[in-house]
């Protein structure tokens, strides 16, 4: 369990970091390292150089923008979890973060690192897809952004260019009052999920659904937003039966993963149950709290 030898650089700015990555095909970015270091220990990853961006202060921030909260890529999961803007304006992310790893890994692990790593079971990616977040990256002198659903291509595979660096993620904030729900199942708390589900709901004053966003993660190679379920529930007063049938229909075409611990059939059923529960939880949350007024 010892990593292979590599060179280490701690660039003082993003330009220098991009140059280091562009100069060496085997170079990789490290921020919190909570996934990369174990992969290196097991020699599943053998980077020739680590470019440490953890201390680039320009990448560590949480700030409010027009109808969005923007989180810098190297913001630790712990810092985001404790941030008042996340708690008040991004309740779905606040609800999901305690499910990410353990306190000791959230102290080092970053928001951007989890997204760039693209583990299918990652909670932050699920929230990003559910809320249709935008991922902002630098690539040499240029840069661009991608919607979360376009960013995740497969298990641990993203659309980030090889020498690109994820710099921030922009989570839309809804103006209506919202309620949130998050559900996850694993063999033990904080282990890799078999399936997870996230939901955010906004209600009209009369109690009917104004907007709903729901997504599932861990069951499939990338998180999936359940647009069909949202369409079916919009404008209605959902009941457990209508939620269940909307979710079941939305999951008809998914292609769940299978492994020793959870078969594809189990993951499909579990994803359906958890998505139904997450939506019900979000509805209840919206009713009880009176929602979040922005």
């Amino acid at each position: 369990m010892k990593a292979a030898a590599f060179a280490y650089s701690r660039p003082s700015g993003l330009d220098e970091a991009c140059a280091l990555l562009a100069a060496d095909d085997g170079a990789r970015v490290i921020a919190g390292g909570q996934t990369l270091v174990p992969l290196m220990a097991m020699r599943l990853a053998r980077p020739t150089r680590l470019v440490d961006i953890a201390r680039l202060s320009e990448l560590a921030f949480v700030r409010e923008d027009t109808d969005a909260i923007v989180i810098g890529a190297t913001t630790t999961q712990r810092a985001a979890e404790r941030h008042a803007l996340v708690r008040d304006k991004l309740p779905l992310l606040a609800r999901a973060l305690p499910w990410v790893g353990h306190a000791a890994t959230r102290a080092r692990g970053t928001i951007g690192g989890s997204l760039a790593n693209a583990d299918p079971a990652a909670e932050i990616g699920l929230v990003a897809v559910t809320l249709d977040a935008e991922l902002v990256f630098r690539n040499g002198a240029g840069g661009s952004q991608l919607r979360a659903a376009e960013f995740f291509l497969g298990a641990m595979v993203t659309a980030l260019p090889a020498a690109g660096i994820l710099t921030a993620v922009r989570f839309p904030v809804w103006r209506e009052r919202v309620g949130v729900g998050f559900q996850e199942m694993s063999s033990r708390k904080s282990d890799f999920a078999f399936a997870a589900a996230a939901a955010q709901v906004a209600l009209h004053p009369d109690g009917t659904v104004a907007r709903v966003a729901a997504g599932i993660g861990a069951a499939t190679e990338t998180p999936i937003r359940l647009y069909a379920a949202a369409d079916a529930l919009q404008g209605t007063r959902p009941t457990p039966d209508t939620i269940r049938s909307a979710v079941t229909a939305a999951l008809a075409d998914i292609n769940p993963m299978a492994d020793l611990h959870a078969s594809a059939d189990y993951r499909r059923r579990l994803a359906g149950s958890l998505a139904s529960r997450a939506i019900a939880e979000a509805l209840e949350n919206a009713k009880q709290s009176g929602g979040h007024v922005h």
Partner: protein, 162 residues
């Protein structure tokens, strides 16, 4: 690579390969063997140390990443040689350990919890040590130890109310 670490309030300058984990640096270079090597890939929690006050896994970090940072190991928690901290004493009193392999890490995880939350609920305690595996105790007496230490620390040196 030349790296400067402040460990238990002592400043050290060490020469390490970039691939040397903080855990191996503490144990092999600095001789601080209280941080234990368990799984060495971030699953068991036995290598937990405090980095700028937060519990982290020292096997999931290279020593060069800790350059200039403050680290506390179990050796740094005792008030004086031969003495025990309130938390350590509570672990003895409730018999919160058997083989002892996970104990330094459990105590550091609990220390980080109590530093920010003087009155943790049982759920808070369970959550705080959820990343630390113990194969002997069944955890019940560990939770009891942390609750006992919290109670004692709450009662200690409390300012008199006006």
């Amino acid at each position: 690579m030349s790296t400067e670490l402040t460990v238990n309030s002592h400043r050290y300058r060490v020469e390490v390969e970039p691939r040397t984990t903080l855990l191996d640096c503490l144990r092999d270079t600095l001789g601080l063997t209280g941080a234990h090597a368990g799984c060495e890939h971030g699953v068991c929690g036995a290598c937990t140390v405090l980095l700028d006050g937060a519990a982290v896994r020292s096997c999931l970090m290279f020593a060069v990443q800790a350059d200039g940072r403050e680290i506390t190991t179990i050796e740094g928690l005792t008030p004086a040689p031969g003495e025990l901290s309130v938390l350590q004493d509570a672990f003895c009193e409730t018999h919160g350990l058997q083989c002892g392999y996970c104990t330094p890490a459990m105590i550091l995880a609990a220390h980080a919890l109590l530093a920010g939350n003087p009155a943790p609920t049982r759920d808070d305690i369970v959550e705080a040590i959820s990343g630390n595996i113990c194969r002997c105790t069944g955890y019940a007496q560990i939770v009891e130890a942390v609750a006992l230490a919290a109670e004692r620390l709450r009662g200690a040196n409390r300012p008199v109310e006006a």
